[in-house]
Symmetry: C2
Subunit: 351 residues, 2 copies
C-alpha cells in the first residue's frame, strides 16, 4: 500500500513537472518571424499629419498582432501571410483592396500574388476588378488549379465559380483616391496640353509618387517560409499595365531559404527580377540576407534609375526591410529560439 501510494505520488509529480516544463521548453525553442509593409515612397514627416501617422501605426500594429497570434499558435506561414495581407487589403489606408488607387479610366484594377516556400507553390491574379480580396484569389489559383497566374475577367469568373466574395468595383473607392486621380489627370494635362492621347500614359507615371502596395513574409514554427503581395498598382495607370506585385520572382517570391515581398516602381523590380535576385544571392552568392538586400535596394536599383523597397525573412528568422525612398510603412515581430521575448518594430520614415 505504502509503495503504491509512493508510486502514485511519483507519477502525479512527473505529470505536474511535465505540464510546467513543456510549455516553458516549447516557448524557449520556438521561433518565428513576420515582416510586413504597406508601401514605400515619398513618405516624409513634412507631408504627414500626426493623426495620419497614428492611423498608419495602428494599422501596422493590428496586422502584426494578427500575424503574431497565428504564428505563436503554430499556424503555417502561408496561412499567416494570406490573412495578414487580407487585413491590409480591407484597410482603406493602403493601396490594395479597399483604398486602391484609380486607373486612368477611373476604375480599380487589382493584382496579387502568394508563394509557399515549402514546395514552390505559387498563385497570382492580375487586373481583377470585383474580387474583394485578391490575395485569397491568388491562393485559390495556387491550391485549386494547375495554373499559377490568371488575369482579368477570366480570373474573376474563376473566383465567382469557387465562391469567393465579389464586390462592385466602387467598393474599393475612397475619397482620397478619387482626389489622387483628379490631381494626376490635371498634372498630366498641364504637362502635355496638346496631347489628348498621351503616348502610353508615360507622362503621369510619377504624379502620385507613393507606392501603396502591401505585403507580408513569414517564417513559421515548422521552419517554412511564405510571401504575399497585393496592390492597386499606379494611379492613372492604363493600357492594362501589369506591375511587379503579381509576378512570381519580381515582386513576390519564397523558397526554402528566403521569402520576399517588394514595393516600389514596379517596372524596375520586373527588369531586375528583384525577389528572385535576392533569394539567389543568398542561395548561390553566399551573401547574407542583409548584404544582398542592401546591394540590390541601395545600389543596383538606384543605379538602374528606380526606387522602392522590400521586406524579406530568411530561414533563420532574420528580417530585413531595406528601401531607398523617403519612407516605407513597415514592421516586424520576431521570436527567437532560446528567448521568451518577442521583438516588435513598427516604422514609417528613414530615420
Amino acid at each position: 500500500m505504502q509503495s503504491n501510494a509512493l508510486k502514485r505520488l511519483l507519477v502525479i509529480g512527473m505529470v505536474i513537472l511535465w505540464n510546467v516544463l513543456c510549455p516553458v521548453w516549447a516557448q524557449r525553442t520556438t521561433s518565428y518571424t513576420l515582416v510586413i509593409h504597406g508601401g514605400a515612397g515619398t513618405i516624409t514627416r513634412a507631408n504627414m499629419s500626426a493623426e495620419m501617422e497614428r492611423a498608419y501605426h495602428q494599422s501596422l500594429q493590428r496586422a502584426l498582432d494578427l500575424g503574431e497570434k497565428m504564428l505563436a499558435g503554430g499556424l503555417p506561414a502561408l496561412e499567416v501571410v494570406e490573412k495578414v495581407v487580407r487585413l491590409l487589403e480591407d484597410d482603406s489606408l493602403f493601396n490594395a483592396g479597399k483604398g486602391a488607387v484609380l486607373t486612368n479610366a477611373g476604375e480599380h484594377e487589382l493584382d496579387a500574388a502568394i508563394m509557399d516556400g515549402k514546395n514552390l507553390g505559387a498563385g497570382s491574379v492580375a487586373g481583377v476588378k470585383t474580387i474583394k480580396n485578391p490575395i485569397s484569389a491568388a491562393r485559390a489559383v495556387m491550391e485549386k488549379t494547375e495554373h499559377v497566374m490568371l488575369s482579368g475577367s477570366g480570373a474573376e469568373a474563376f473566383a465567382r465559380q469557387i465562391g469567393l466574395e465579389m464586390v462592385p468595383n466602387s467598393y474599393f473607392s475612397t475619397e482620397s483616391r478619387r482626389r489622387g486621380l483628379k490631381r494626376a489627370l490635371e498634372e498630366e494635362k498641364k504637362n502635355t496640353p496638346n496631347a489628348p492621347q498621351p503616348a502610353a500614359g508615360i507622362s503621369s507615371v510619377r504624379v502620385d509618387w507613393k507606392y501603396g502596395t502591401v505585403g507580408a513574409v513569414a517564417l513559421d514554427q515548422q521552419g517554412n517560409l511564405a510571401a504575399a503581395t497585393s496592390t492597386g498598382g499606379m494611379t492613372n495607370k492604363r493600357y492594362g499595365r501589369i506591375g511587379d506585385a503579381p509576378l512570381i520572382g519580381a515582386g513576390t517570391y519564397a523558397d526554402s531559404l528566403v521569402a520576399v515581398s517588394c514595393t516600389g516602381w514596379g517596372e524596375f523590380f520586373i527588369r531586375m527580377v528583384m525577389a528572385k535576385s535576392l533569394a539567389d544571392r543568398v542561395r548561390f552568392g553566399n551573401q547574407s540576407l542583409v548584404k544582398a538586400g542592401d546591394e540590390l535596394i541601395q545600389i543596383a536599383l538606384p543605379a538602374l534609375g528606380g526606387d522602392g523597397g522590400l521586406i524579406a525573412v530568411d530561414r533563420n528568422g532574420e528580417p530585413i526591410m531595406p528601401f531607398c525612398t523617403e519612407g516605407m510603412y513597415r514592421g516586424y515581430v520576431r521570436k527567437e529560439a532560446g528567448s521568451d521575448k518577442v521583438k516588435r518594430v513598427v516604422a514609417i520614415y528613414k530615420d
Copy 2:
C-alpha cells in the same frame, strides 16, 4: 620622278594589302551566336511524317538564315531576336502568331516578351488577340513606354495607337489548331462527363501535349545579349491564364552574361523563375552554362513535376538547348573568333 612613282606604288600596295587583310582579320575575330526553338513536347519520329519533318527543318533553317545574315552584318542582338521571332510568328507551323492554338472560347490569346541584356530593358504583352506580331508589340512596350508589361485590350489599344499591324483574331487560325481544340474539348468531355463547368479548366491541360512556343537568343558582334519569346499558350486554356513566356525572369531573360528563352509547361517555369535561375547560377553560383542548364532542366524541373526545355547563350557565345521532353524544335548558328567557319545545327528529336 622615279622616287615619286615608287612612293605611289608603295601607297597603292598598302591600300590593296589593307583591303585584303582587314576583312580577313575582321572575319577571324568576329564572333556571334543565334539559338532558336520552336517548342518542346511529345515530338517523336512515330508521330511525325517525313513531309512534316522536312517542313519543320526548312522553317528552322530559314530562321537561322535570317539571323545569321543579320549577325554577320553586325546588327544588334535585340534586333536579331525580334526579327527571327517575327518570322517564326508568321510561320503557321509554330504555336505563336499565325498558327497559335485556340483557347477554350475558340479564340487566340497571344503572349510575348523581349529583353535586352545590354541595359536590362524589357517589354512584354499578355493576352493580346489582334496584334499581328506580338513580339514587336513587346519591343514597342520596352522602347516607347515606361512600362514593361501591358495586357489585354489595353495592350491592343497601345499597339493600334503606335501604328503596329492589327489583324482580325481569325487571322491566327489554322485548320490543324481548330482540330486540336475539338480534340481537347472531346477529351475533356469524356474525362469529366458530368462537369459542364470543369473547375478551373484543369482536366484538359495535358491534352495537346506539345508546347509550340517560339524563341530566340543571340550574342552579337558587340558582345551584347538579347532574348525573345512568343506563344499562343496552351490549347483550351481559359480564365485568362498567363504562362511563363511573357514573364520576365520566368520564360524570357537576358543580362550581360546570359540570354534565355524557355518552352514547356509554363506553370513550372514560373514557379522556378527558370530563366533568371539559369542566369543567377552562372553569375553567382559559378556554374558553367551547360551544367546550370542541365541541372535545372534535367533534374530540378522533373523533380517538381514539370517538363520542357530552354535555349540559352552566354557572353562567350556558348549555346545550350537542354530539354526533358521527347523532342524540341531547335537549332543554332555559331561563329567563333579565330575561325572562318560558322557551325550550324538543326534538330528535332532527342537522339
